[in-house]
Assembly symmetry: C2
Homo-oligomer: 285 residues x 2
Protein backbone atom coordinates (compact mmCIF):
# COMPACT_ATOMS: atom_id res chain seq x y z
CA UNK A 1 0.00 0.00 0.00
CA UNK A 2 1.55 3.28 -1.08
CA UNK A 3 1.71 6.43 0.99
CA UNK A 4 -0.60 8.93 -0.68
CA UNK A 5 1.32 12.13 -1.46
CA UNK A 6 -1.17 14.91 -0.87
CA UNK A 7 -0.50 18.09 -2.77
CA UNK A 8 -2.85 19.85 -0.39
CA UNK A 9 -0.46 19.00 2.49
CA UNK A 10 2.52 20.27 0.51
CA UNK A 11 0.67 23.49 -0.28
CA UNK A 12 -0.19 23.90 3.41
CA UNK A 13 3.47 23.64 4.43
CA UNK A 14 4.51 26.02 1.66
CA UNK A 15 1.84 28.51 2.72
CA UNK A 16 3.44 29.06 6.13
CA UNK A 17 6.81 29.85 4.56
CA UNK A 18 5.27 32.10 1.90
CA UNK A 19 3.28 34.08 4.50
CA UNK A 20 6.46 34.79 6.46
CA UNK A 21 8.40 35.93 3.40
CA UNK A 22 5.50 38.08 2.18
CA UNK A 23 5.22 39.60 5.64
CA UNK A 24 8.89 40.55 5.59
CA UNK A 25 8.45 42.21 2.19
CA UNK A 26 5.41 44.16 3.32
CA UNK A 27 7.25 45.38 6.41
CA UNK A 28 9.75 46.88 4.00
CA UNK A 29 6.99 48.62 2.08
CA UNK A 30 6.60 46.26 -0.88
CA UNK A 31 3.33 44.44 -1.63
CA UNK A 32 4.14 41.51 -3.96
CA UNK A 33 1.61 41.41 -6.79
CA UNK A 34 0.72 38.98 -9.55
CA UNK A 35 -0.96 40.21 -12.74
CA UNK A 36 -2.93 37.65 -14.74
CA UNK A 37 -3.43 38.45 -18.40
CA UNK A 38 -6.41 36.53 -19.76
CA UNK A 39 -7.87 36.65 -23.28
CA UNK A 40 -11.48 35.44 -23.45
CA UNK A 41 -13.01 33.27 -20.73
CA UNK A 42 -12.07 29.60 -21.18
CA UNK A 43 -13.34 27.51 -18.24
CA UNK A 44 -9.83 26.04 -17.62
CA UNK A 45 -8.34 29.50 -17.38
CA UNK A 46 -11.09 30.75 -15.08
CA UNK A 47 -10.65 27.76 -12.80
CA UNK A 48 -6.87 28.24 -12.56
CA UNK A 49 -7.37 31.98 -12.11
CA UNK A 50 -9.64 31.41 -9.10
CA UNK A 51 -7.01 29.12 -7.56
CA UNK A 52 -4.17 31.55 -8.20
CA UNK A 53 -6.05 34.55 -6.80
CA UNK A 54 -7.03 32.60 -3.71
CA UNK A 55 -3.45 31.42 -3.16
CA UNK A 56 -2.12 34.98 -3.44
CA UNK A 57 -4.74 36.15 -0.95
CA UNK A 58 -4.08 33.28 1.49
CA UNK A 59 -0.39 34.12 1.54
CA UNK A 60 -1.03 37.82 2.04
CA UNK A 61 -0.14 38.98 -1.44
CA UNK A 62 -2.00 40.90 -4.13
CA UNK A 63 -3.30 39.91 -7.55
CA UNK A 64 -4.93 41.65 -10.46
CA UNK A 65 -6.70 40.21 -13.49
CA UNK A 66 -6.50 41.97 -16.84
CA UNK A 67 -9.18 40.54 -19.09
CA UNK A 68 -9.22 41.14 -22.82
CA UNK A 69 -12.06 40.19 -25.18
CA UNK A 70 -11.58 37.00 -27.17
CA UNK A 71 -11.35 38.97 -30.42
CA UNK A 72 -8.68 41.36 -29.12
CA UNK A 73 -6.11 42.51 -31.69
CA UNK A 74 -2.46 41.44 -31.53
CA UNK A 75 -1.49 45.09 -31.15
CA UNK A 76 -3.77 45.69 -28.18
CA UNK A 77 -2.57 42.45 -26.53
CA UNK A 78 1.07 43.46 -26.94
CA UNK A 79 0.40 46.94 -25.60
CA UNK A 80 -1.32 45.44 -22.56
CA UNK A 81 1.64 43.14 -21.84
CA UNK A 82 4.06 46.03 -22.35
CA UNK A 83 2.09 48.11 -19.82
CA UNK A 84 2.34 45.28 -17.26
CA UNK A 85 6.10 45.06 -17.91
CA UNK A 86 6.37 48.77 -17.09
CA UNK A 87 3.96 48.80 -14.13
CA UNK A 88 6.24 48.96 -11.08
CA UNK A 89 3.47 47.72 -8.76
CA UNK A 90 3.36 44.40 -10.71
CA UNK A 91 6.09 41.82 -9.91
CA UNK A 92 4.88 38.70 -11.68
CA UNK A 93 2.95 38.25 -14.93
CA UNK A 94 1.03 35.13 -15.96
CA UNK A 95 -0.35 35.00 -19.51
CA UNK A 96 -2.94 32.26 -20.06
CA UNK A 97 -2.16 30.02 -23.03
CA UNK A 98 -3.01 28.80 -25.57
CA UNK A 99 -4.22 32.10 -27.01
CA UNK A 100 -7.14 32.23 -29.48
CA UNK A 101 -6.05 31.16 -32.97
CA UNK A 102 -5.79 34.63 -34.54
CA UNK A 103 -3.13 35.71 -32.03
CA UNK A 104 0.62 35.04 -32.22
CA UNK A 105 2.31 33.93 -29.01
CA UNK A 106 5.90 34.34 -30.29
CA UNK A 107 6.22 38.14 -29.91
CA UNK A 108 4.80 37.92 -26.38
CA UNK A 109 7.44 35.35 -25.38
CA UNK A 110 10.15 37.71 -26.59
CA UNK A 111 8.49 40.72 -25.01
CA UNK A 112 7.65 39.62 -21.46
CA UNK A 113 10.19 40.92 -18.94
CA UNK A 114 12.14 37.76 -17.91
CA UNK A 115 12.26 39.01 -14.31
CA UNK A 116 8.43 39.10 -14.16
CA UNK A 117 7.95 35.93 -16.22
CA UNK A 118 6.84 33.71 -13.33
CA UNK A 119 5.65 30.74 -15.45
CA UNK A 120 8.59 30.40 -17.90
CA UNK A 121 7.19 31.88 -21.10
CA UNK A 122 10.36 33.81 -22.05
CA UNK A 123 13.21 32.04 -23.91
CA UNK A 124 15.54 33.59 -21.33
CA UNK A 125 13.92 31.52 -18.58
CA UNK A 126 13.61 28.46 -20.82
CA UNK A 127 17.34 28.63 -21.57
CA UNK A 128 18.08 28.92 -17.84
CA UNK A 129 16.01 25.85 -17.01
CA UNK A 130 17.79 23.98 -19.81
CA UNK A 131 21.19 25.08 -18.50
CA UNK A 132 20.32 24.19 -14.89
CA UNK A 133 20.60 27.84 -13.83
CA UNK A 134 18.05 28.33 -11.05
CA UNK A 135 18.12 32.13 -11.16
CA UNK A 136 15.19 31.94 -13.62
CA UNK A 137 11.68 30.55 -13.24
CA UNK A 138 10.78 26.98 -14.21
CA UNK A 139 7.23 26.22 -15.36
CA UNK A 140 5.15 26.03 -12.18
CA UNK A 141 3.78 22.52 -12.76
CA UNK A 142 7.24 21.03 -13.38
CA UNK A 143 8.52 22.64 -10.20
CA UNK A 144 5.45 21.44 -8.29
CA UNK A 145 6.63 17.86 -8.89
CA UNK A 146 9.98 18.71 -7.27
CA UNK A 147 8.15 20.27 -4.28
CA UNK A 148 6.16 17.04 -3.86
CA UNK A 149 9.36 14.95 -3.84
CA UNK A 150 11.08 17.30 -1.37
CA UNK A 151 8.13 17.47 1.00
CA UNK A 152 7.93 13.67 1.19
CA UNK A 153 11.70 13.34 1.65
CA UNK A 154 12.37 11.59 -1.64
CA UNK A 155 15.82 12.50 -2.98
CA UNK A 156 16.07 11.91 -6.75
CA UNK A 157 19.89 11.81 -6.72
CA UNK A 158 21.20 8.67 -8.42
CA UNK A 159 17.66 7.33 -8.92
CA UNK A 160 16.24 5.99 -12.16
CA UNK A 161 13.48 8.40 -13.09
CA UNK A 162 11.15 7.97 -16.04
CA UNK A 163 9.13 10.95 -17.25
CA UNK A 164 6.28 10.11 -19.62
CA UNK A 165 5.66 13.19 -21.77
CA UNK A 166 7.92 15.71 -23.47
CA UNK A 167 5.94 18.95 -23.40
CA UNK A 168 7.61 22.31 -22.77
CA UNK A 169 5.20 22.85 -19.86
CA UNK A 170 6.06 19.72 -17.88
CA UNK A 171 8.04 16.85 -19.43
CA UNK A 172 11.15 18.58 -20.77
CA UNK A 173 11.64 21.18 -18.03
CA UNK A 174 11.00 18.54 -15.36
CA UNK A 175 13.68 16.31 -16.93
CA UNK A 176 16.10 19.25 -16.57
CA UNK A 177 15.12 19.94 -12.93
CA UNK A 178 15.62 16.24 -12.14
CA UNK A 179 18.98 16.14 -13.94
CA UNK A 180 20.13 19.11 -11.91
CA UNK A 181 19.31 17.07 -8.82
CA UNK A 182 21.43 14.23 -10.24
CA UNK A 183 18.71 11.79 -11.23
CA UNK A 184 19.25 9.48 -14.20
CA UNK A 185 16.38 10.64 -16.37
CA UNK A 186 14.62 8.80 -19.20
CA UNK A 187 12.05 10.71 -21.26
CA UNK A 188 9.30 8.62 -22.86
CA UNK A 189 6.52 9.62 -25.23
CA UNK A 190 4.00 8.30 -27.75
CA UNK A 191 6.74 6.86 -29.99
CA UNK A 192 8.54 4.98 -27.22
CA UNK A 193 8.74 1.35 -28.33
CA UNK A 194 8.61 -0.42 -24.96
CA UNK A 195 6.74 2.06 -22.77
CA UNK A 196 5.63 -0.50 -20.18
CA UNK A 197 9.13 -1.92 -19.76
CA UNK A 198 10.74 1.50 -19.52
CA UNK A 199 8.24 2.67 -16.92
CA UNK A 200 8.57 -0.55 -14.93
CA UNK A 201 12.30 0.08 -14.40
CA UNK A 202 11.75 3.50 -12.87
CA UNK A 203 12.28 4.10 -9.17
CA UNK A 204 10.42 7.36 -9.67
CA UNK A 205 7.76 7.45 -12.38
CA UNK A 206 6.18 10.73 -13.50
CA UNK A 207 3.12 10.62 -15.75
CA UNK A 208 2.68 13.82 -17.76
CA UNK A 209 1.22 12.48 -20.97
CA UNK A 210 -2.28 13.94 -20.77
CA UNK A 211 -3.98 10.59 -21.32
CA UNK A 212 -6.50 9.30 -18.77
CA UNK A 213 -5.37 6.31 -16.66
CA UNK A 214 -2.67 5.31 -19.16
CA UNK A 215 -0.23 4.17 -16.46
CA UNK A 216 -1.41 0.75 -15.34
CA UNK A 217 -0.19 -1.68 -12.68
CA UNK A 218 1.91 -3.69 -15.14
CA UNK A 219 3.79 -0.49 -16.05
CA UNK A 220 4.77 0.17 -12.44
CA UNK A 221 7.75 -1.33 -10.64
CA UNK A 222 7.31 -2.77 -7.13
CA UNK A 223 7.90 0.05 -4.62
CA UNK A 224 8.06 2.84 -7.19
CA UNK A 225 7.28 6.46 -6.38
CA UNK A 226 4.49 7.48 -8.76
CA UNK A 227 3.66 11.11 -9.49
CA UNK A 228 0.65 11.96 -11.61
CA UNK A 229 0.63 15.29 -13.43
CA UNK A 230 -2.36 14.51 -15.66
CA UNK A 231 -5.71 16.24 -15.36
CA UNK A 232 -8.34 14.43 -17.44
CA UNK A 233 -12.00 13.57 -17.33
CA UNK A 234 -12.87 9.85 -17.39
CA UNK A 235 -15.80 8.09 -19.12
CA UNK A 236 -18.08 8.83 -16.17
CA UNK A 237 -17.25 12.53 -16.23
CA UNK A 238 -15.02 12.42 -13.15
CA UNK A 239 -11.66 14.15 -12.84
CA UNK A 240 -8.80 11.66 -13.15
CA UNK A 241 -5.06 11.62 -13.75
CA UNK A 242 -2.75 9.80 -16.18
CA UNK A 243 -2.38 6.99 -13.63
CA UNK A 244 -4.93 4.27 -12.88
CA UNK A 245 -4.75 5.06 -9.16
CA UNK A 246 -6.72 2.08 -7.79
CA UNK A 247 -4.64 -0.43 -9.77
CA UNK A 248 -1.23 1.19 -9.24
CA UNK A 249 -1.51 2.22 -5.59
CA UNK A 250 -0.91 -1.26 -4.09
CA UNK A 251 2.46 -1.54 -5.92
CA UNK A 252 3.71 1.98 -5.25
CA UNK A 253 5.67 3.11 -2.18
CA UNK A 254 4.39 6.66 -2.71
CA UNK A 255 1.69 7.83 -5.09
CA UNK A 256 0.05 11.19 -5.80
CA UNK A 257 -3.71 11.27 -6.44
CA UNK A 258 -5.77 13.40 -8.85
CA UNK A 259 -7.33 15.65 -7.66
CA UNK A 260 -5.47 16.83 -4.49
CA UNK A 261 -2.08 15.87 -5.97
CA UNK A 262 0.55 17.75 -7.97
CA UNK A 263 -2.06 20.18 -9.29
CA UNK A 264 -2.71 21.46 -5.77
CA UNK A 265 0.89 22.65 -5.48
CA UNK A 266 1.12 24.63 -8.73
CA UNK A 267 -0.34 27.91 -7.48
CA UNK A 268 1.93 27.77 -4.40
CA UNK A 269 4.94 27.55 -6.71
CA UNK A 270 3.49 30.48 -8.67
CA UNK A 271 3.08 32.52 -5.49
CA UNK A 272 6.68 31.70 -4.55
CA UNK A 273 7.85 32.94 -7.94
CA UNK A 274 5.95 36.22 -7.51
CA UNK A 275 7.62 36.66 -4.15
CA UNK A 276 11.05 35.97 -5.63
CA UNK A 277 10.30 38.44 -8.46
CA UNK A 278 9.26 41.07 -5.92
CA UNK A 279 12.44 40.51 -3.91
CA UNK A 280 14.54 40.77 -7.04
CA UNK A 281 12.77 43.82 -8.53
CA UNK A 282 12.59 45.80 -5.29
CA UNK A 283 16.04 44.79 -4.10
CA UNK A 284 14.43 44.04 -0.72
CA UNK A 285 14.63 40.63 0.97
Amino acid sequence: MGTVMLGTEVAKAMKERLIQRAEAMKEKGVMPKLAILRVGARPDDLSYERGAKKRMELTGMASQVVELPEDVSQKKLEETLEALNRDTSVHGILVFRPLPGHLDEEPLKQMIDPVKDVDCMSPVNMAKVFAGDDSGYAPCTAEAVMEMLDHYGIDPEGKKVTVVGRSMVVGKPLAMLLLKRHATVTTCHTRTADLAGTCRQAQILVAAAGKAKMVTADMTGEGAVVLDVGINVDEEGNLCGDVDFEAVEPKASFISPVPRGVGSVTTSVLAGHVLRAAESISGVK
Copy 2:
Protein backbone atom coordinates in the same frame (compact mmCIF):
# COMPACT_ATOMS: atom_id res chain seq x y z
CA MET B 1 32.50 -6.84 -35.81
CA GLY B 2 31.03 -3.37 -35.98
CA THR B 3 30.93 -1.16 -39.04
CA VAL B 4 33.29 1.73 -38.36
CA MET B 5 31.43 5.04 -38.77
CA LEU B 6 33.96 7.37 -40.29
CA GLY B 7 33.36 11.03 -39.65
CA THR B 8 35.71 11.78 -42.49
CA GLU B 9 33.30 10.01 -44.89
CA VAL B 10 30.35 11.95 -43.50
CA ALA B 11 32.26 15.21 -43.90
CA LYS B 12 33.10 14.28 -47.51
CA ALA B 13 29.44 13.73 -48.35
CA MET B 14 28.44 16.96 -46.61
CA LYS B 15 31.14 18.85 -48.48
CA GLU B 16 29.55 18.21 -51.86
CA ARG B 17 26.21 19.55 -50.69
CA LEU B 18 27.79 22.57 -48.99
CA ILE B 19 29.79 23.47 -52.12
CA GLN B 20 26.63 23.50 -54.21
CA ARG B 21 24.71 25.67 -51.75
CA ALA B 22 27.66 28.08 -51.35
CA GLU B 23 27.94 28.27 -55.15
CA ALA B 24 24.28 29.23 -55.44
CA MET B 25 24.77 31.98 -52.84
CA LYS B 26 27.83 33.35 -54.58
CA GLU B 27 26.01 33.46 -57.92
CA LYS B 28 23.54 35.75 -56.18
CA GLY B 29 26.35 37.99 -55.00
CA VAL B 30 26.71 36.83 -51.38
CA MET B 31 29.96 35.32 -50.06
CA PRO B 32 29.13 33.44 -46.83
CA LYS B 33 31.66 34.29 -44.16
CA LEU B 34 32.53 32.97 -40.69
CA ALA B 35 34.25 35.20 -38.15
CA ILE B 36 36.17 33.49 -35.37
CA LEU B 37 36.73 35.52 -32.22
CA ARG B 38 39.67 34.15 -30.26
CA VAL B 39 41.16 35.47 -27.01
CA GLY B 40 44.73 34.33 -26.45
CA ALA B 41 46.21 31.31 -28.21
CA ARG B 42 45.21 28.06 -26.50
CA PRO B 43 46.45 25.04 -28.49
CA ASP B 44 42.90 23.50 -28.57
CA ASP B 45 41.46 26.71 -30.02
CA LEU B 46 44.24 27.00 -32.62
CA SER B 47 43.72 23.41 -33.69
CA TYR B 48 39.94 23.83 -34.10
CA GLU B 49 40.50 27.17 -35.83
CA ARG B 50 42.75 25.54 -38.44
CA GLY B 51 40.09 22.90 -39.09
CA ALA B 52 37.27 25.45 -39.33
CA LYS B 53 39.21 27.73 -41.71
CA LYS B 54 40.14 24.78 -43.91
CA ARG B 55 36.53 23.56 -44.00
CA MET B 56 35.26 27.01 -45.01
CA GLU B 57 37.90 27.17 -47.74
CA LEU B 58 37.16 23.65 -49.01
CA THR B 59 33.48 24.48 -49.35
CA GLY B 60 34.20 27.76 -51.15
CA MET B 61 33.33 30.10 -48.29
CA ALA B 62 35.25 32.80 -46.45
CA SER B 63 36.55 33.04 -42.90
CA GLN B 64 38.22 35.67 -40.79
CA VAL B 65 39.99 35.37 -37.45
CA VAL B 66 39.84 38.19 -34.93
CA GLU B 67 42.52 37.59 -32.30
CA LEU B 68 42.58 39.48 -29.03
CA PRO B 69 45.42 39.36 -26.49
CA GLU B 70 44.91 37.09 -23.49
CA ASP B 71 44.72 40.08 -21.14
CA VAL B 72 42.08 41.93 -23.21
CA SER B 73 39.55 43.94 -21.20
CA GLN B 74 35.88 42.95 -20.99
CA LYS B 75 34.98 46.25 -22.64
CA LYS B 76 37.26 45.72 -25.63
CA LEU B 77 35.99 42.13 -26.04
CA GLU B 78 32.36 43.29 -26.00
CA GLU B 79 33.11 46.07 -28.49
CA THR B 80 34.76 43.56 -30.80
CA LEU B 81 31.76 41.22 -30.67
CA GLU B 82 29.40 44.15 -31.21
CA ALA B 83 31.38 45.16 -34.32
CA LEU B 84 31.06 41.63 -35.71
CA ASN B 85 27.30 41.73 -35.01
CA ARG B 86 27.09 44.91 -37.10
CA ASP B 87 29.49 43.85 -39.88
CA THR B 88 27.19 42.95 -42.79
CA SER B 89 29.92 40.91 -44.52
CA VAL B 90 29.98 38.51 -41.53
CA HIS B 91 27.22 35.87 -41.37
CA GLY B 92 28.40 33.54 -38.62
CA ILE B 93 30.33 34.24 -35.41
CA LEU B 94 32.19 31.64 -33.34
CA VAL B 95 33.58 32.74 -29.97
CA PHE B 96 36.13 30.32 -28.48
CA ARG B 97 35.32 29.29 -24.94
CA PRO B 98 36.17 29.03 -22.12
CA LEU B 99 37.45 32.59 -21.93
CA PRO B 100 40.37 33.55 -19.66
CA GLY B 101 39.31 33.79 -16.02
CA HIS B 102 39.10 37.59 -15.76
CA LEU B 103 36.46 37.76 -18.51
CA ASP B 104 32.69 37.28 -18.09
CA GLU B 105 30.97 35.13 -20.71
CA GLU B 106 27.40 36.04 -19.67
CA PRO B 107 27.13 39.47 -21.35
CA LEU B 108 28.53 37.99 -24.57
CA LYS B 109 25.84 35.29 -24.62
CA GLN B 110 23.19 37.98 -24.31
CA MET B 111 24.89 40.21 -26.86
CA ILE B 112 25.68 37.90 -29.79
CA ASP B 113 23.15 38.28 -32.61
CA PRO B 114 21.14 35.01 -32.47
CA VAL B 115 21.03 34.91 -36.28
CA LYS B 116 24.86 34.87 -36.44
CA ASP B 117 25.30 32.63 -33.40
CA VAL B 118 26.35 29.48 -35.31
CA ASP B 119 27.49 27.45 -32.27
CA CYS B 120 24.58 28.05 -29.88
CA MET B 121 26.01 30.54 -27.41
CA SER B 122 22.88 32.73 -27.19
CA PRO B 123 20.02 31.79 -24.83
CA VAL B 124 17.69 32.37 -27.81
CA ASN B 125 19.27 29.43 -29.63
CA MET B 126 19.54 27.36 -26.46
CA ALA B 127 15.81 27.85 -25.84
CA LYS B 128 15.06 26.82 -29.44
CA VAL B 129 17.07 23.62 -29.12
CA PHE B 130 15.26 22.91 -25.84
CA ALA B 131 11.87 23.52 -27.47
CA GLY B 132 12.71 21.39 -30.53
CA ASP B 133 12.50 24.45 -32.82
CA ASP B 134 15.05 23.87 -35.57
CA SER B 135 15.04 27.46 -36.81
CA GLY B 136 17.97 28.11 -34.44
CA TYR B 137 21.45 26.59 -34.30
CA ALA B 138 22.29 23.60 -32.13
CA PRO B 139 25.83 23.24 -30.77
CA CYS B 140 27.90 21.87 -33.67
CA THR B 141 29.20 18.78 -31.88
CA ALA B 142 25.73 17.67 -30.78
CA GLU B 143 24.45 18.07 -34.33
CA ALA B 144 27.50 16.22 -35.69
CA VAL B 145 26.25 13.11 -33.86
CA MET B 146 22.91 13.40 -35.71
CA GLU B 147 24.75 13.75 -39.03
CA MET B 148 26.67 10.55 -38.28
CA LEU B 149 23.45 8.65 -37.57
CA ASP B 150 21.75 9.99 -40.71
CA HIS B 151 24.70 9.25 -42.98
CA TYR B 152 24.84 5.64 -41.81
CA GLY B 153 21.06 5.23 -42.14
CA ILE B 154 20.37 4.79 -38.43
CA ASP B 155 16.94 6.17 -37.52
CA PRO B 156 16.70 6.96 -33.77
CA GLU B 157 12.87 6.92 -33.78
CA GLY B 158 11.52 4.62 -31.09
CA LYS B 159 15.04 3.48 -30.13
CA LYS B 160 16.45 3.36 -26.62
CA VAL B 161 19.25 5.89 -26.60
CA THR B 162 21.59 6.48 -23.69
CA VAL B 163 23.66 9.66 -23.60
CA VAL B 164 26.51 9.67 -21.07
CA GLY B 165 27.19 13.29 -20.16
CA ARG B 166 24.99 16.29 -19.45
CA SER B 167 27.03 19.26 -20.67
CA MET B 168 25.42 22.20 -22.45
CA VAL B 169 27.81 21.63 -25.36
CA VAL B 170 26.90 18.01 -26.10
CA GLY B 171 24.89 15.91 -23.65
CA LYS B 172 21.81 18.05 -23.01
CA PRO B 173 21.33 19.54 -26.51
CA LEU B 174 21.93 16.11 -28.05
CA ALA B 175 19.22 14.63 -25.80
CA MET B 176 16.85 17.30 -27.19
CA LEU B 177 17.81 16.63 -30.83
CA LEU B 178 17.25 12.91 -30.27
CA LEU B 179 13.90 13.52 -28.54
CA LYS B 180 12.79 15.60 -31.51
CA ARG B 181 13.57 12.57 -33.69
CA HIS B 182 11.40 10.47 -31.36
CA ALA B 183 14.09 8.49 -29.56
CA THR B 184 13.53 7.39 -25.96
CA VAL B 185 16.41 9.19 -24.33
CA THR B 186 18.15 8.44 -21.03
CA THR B 187 20.76 10.91 -19.78
CA CYS B 188 23.48 9.46 -17.53
CA HIS B 189 26.30 11.17 -15.64
CA THR B 190 28.78 10.78 -12.82
CA ARG B 191 26.02 10.29 -10.22
CA THR B 192 24.17 7.58 -12.16
CA ALA B 193 23.91 4.60 -9.83
CA ASP B 194 24.00 1.75 -12.37
CA LEU B 195 25.91 3.26 -15.28
CA ALA B 196 26.98 -0.08 -16.79
CA GLY B 197 23.45 -1.48 -16.72
CA THR B 198 21.89 1.65 -18.14
CA CYS B 199 24.41 1.80 -20.98
CA ARG B 200 24.02 -1.92 -21.71
CA GLN B 201 20.29 -1.45 -22.43
CA ALA B 202 20.91 1.19 -25.07
CA GLN B 203 20.37 0.45 -28.74
CA ILE B 204 22.28 3.65 -29.43
CA LEU B 205 24.96 4.65 -26.90
CA VAL B 206 26.60 8.07 -27.03
CA ALA B 207 29.66 8.70 -24.87
CA ALA B 208 30.18 12.39 -24.11
CA ALA B 209 31.61 12.27 -20.62
CA GLY B 210 35.14 13.49 -21.34
CA LYS B 211 36.79 10.52 -19.62
CA ALA B 212 39.27 8.37 -21.55
CA LYS B 213 38.07 4.85 -22.44
CA MET B 214 35.36 4.86 -19.77
CA VAL B 215 32.89 2.89 -21.90
CA THR B 216 34.00 -0.73 -21.74
CA ALA B 217 32.73 -3.94 -23.37
CA ASP B 218 30.60 -4.90 -20.37
CA MET B 219 28.79 -1.55 -20.66
CA THR B 220 27.80 -2.20 -24.27
CA GLY B 221 24.80 -4.19 -25.43
CA GLU B 222 25.21 -6.77 -28.19
CA GLY B 223 24.65 -5.04 -31.55
CA ALA B 224 24.54 -1.51 -30.14
CA VAL B 225 25.38 1.58 -32.18
CA VAL B 226 28.20 3.34 -30.30
CA LEU B 227 29.10 6.97 -30.89
CA ASP B 228 32.14 8.46 -29.22
CA VAL B 229 32.22 12.22 -28.69
CA GLY B 230 35.19 12.21 -26.31
CA ILE B 231 38.58 13.65 -27.20
CA ASN B 232 41.17 12.66 -24.61
CA VAL B 233 44.83 11.74 -24.39
CA ASP B 234 45.64 8.27 -23.02
CA GLU B 235 48.54 7.20 -20.76
CA GLU B 236 50.84 6.81 -23.76
CA GLY B 237 50.06 10.28 -25.02
CA ASN B 238 47.81 9.14 -27.87
CA LEU B 239 44.48 10.71 -28.80
CA CYS B 240 41.57 8.54 -27.66
CA GLY B 241 37.85 8.78 -27.07
CA ASP B 242 35.53 8.00 -24.16
CA VAL B 243 35.08 4.47 -25.55
CA ASP B 244 37.58 1.62 -25.28
CA PHE B 245 37.39 1.04 -29.03
CA GLU B 246 39.29 -2.28 -29.25
CA ALA B 247 37.20 -3.87 -26.51
CA VAL B 248 33.81 -2.50 -27.60
CA GLU B 249 34.10 -2.82 -31.38
CA PRO B 250 33.42 -6.61 -31.54
CA LYS B 251 30.06 -6.16 -29.74
CA ALA B 252 28.88 -3.07 -31.63
CA SER B 253 26.92 -3.07 -34.90
CA PHE B 254 28.27 0.42 -35.67
CA ILE B 255 31.00 2.32 -33.86
CA SER B 256 32.70 5.66 -34.38
CA PRO B 257 36.47 5.89 -33.79
CA VAL B 258 38.56 8.71 -32.29
CA PRO B 259 40.17 10.36 -34.19
CA ARG B 260 38.31 10.37 -37.57
CA GLY B 261 34.91 10.06 -35.88
CA VAL B 262 32.32 12.57 -34.67
CA GLY B 263 34.99 15.26 -34.28
CA SER B 264 35.63 15.20 -38.04
CA VAL B 265 32.05 16.27 -38.74
CA THR B 266 31.87 19.27 -36.39
CA THR B 267 33.38 21.87 -38.72
CA SER B 268 31.10 20.69 -41.55
CA VAL B 269 28.08 21.36 -39.33
CA LEU B 270 29.61 24.76 -38.52
CA ALA B 271 30.04 25.55 -42.24
CA GLY B 272 26.42 24.51 -42.82
CA HIS B 273 25.28 26.88 -40.08
CA VAL B 274 27.24 29.77 -41.64
CA LEU B 275 25.55 29.03 -44.95
CA ARG B 276 22.13 28.98 -43.32
CA ALA B 277 22.93 32.27 -41.56
CA ALA B 278 24.00 33.82 -44.86
CA GLU B 279 20.81 32.63 -46.54
CA SER B 280 18.73 34.01 -43.71
CA ILE B 281 20.55 37.37 -43.38
CA SER B 282 20.73 38.07 -47.12
CA GLY B 283 17.25 36.76 -47.86
CA VAL B 284 18.82 34.83 -50.77
CA LYS B 285 18.53 31.04 -51.12
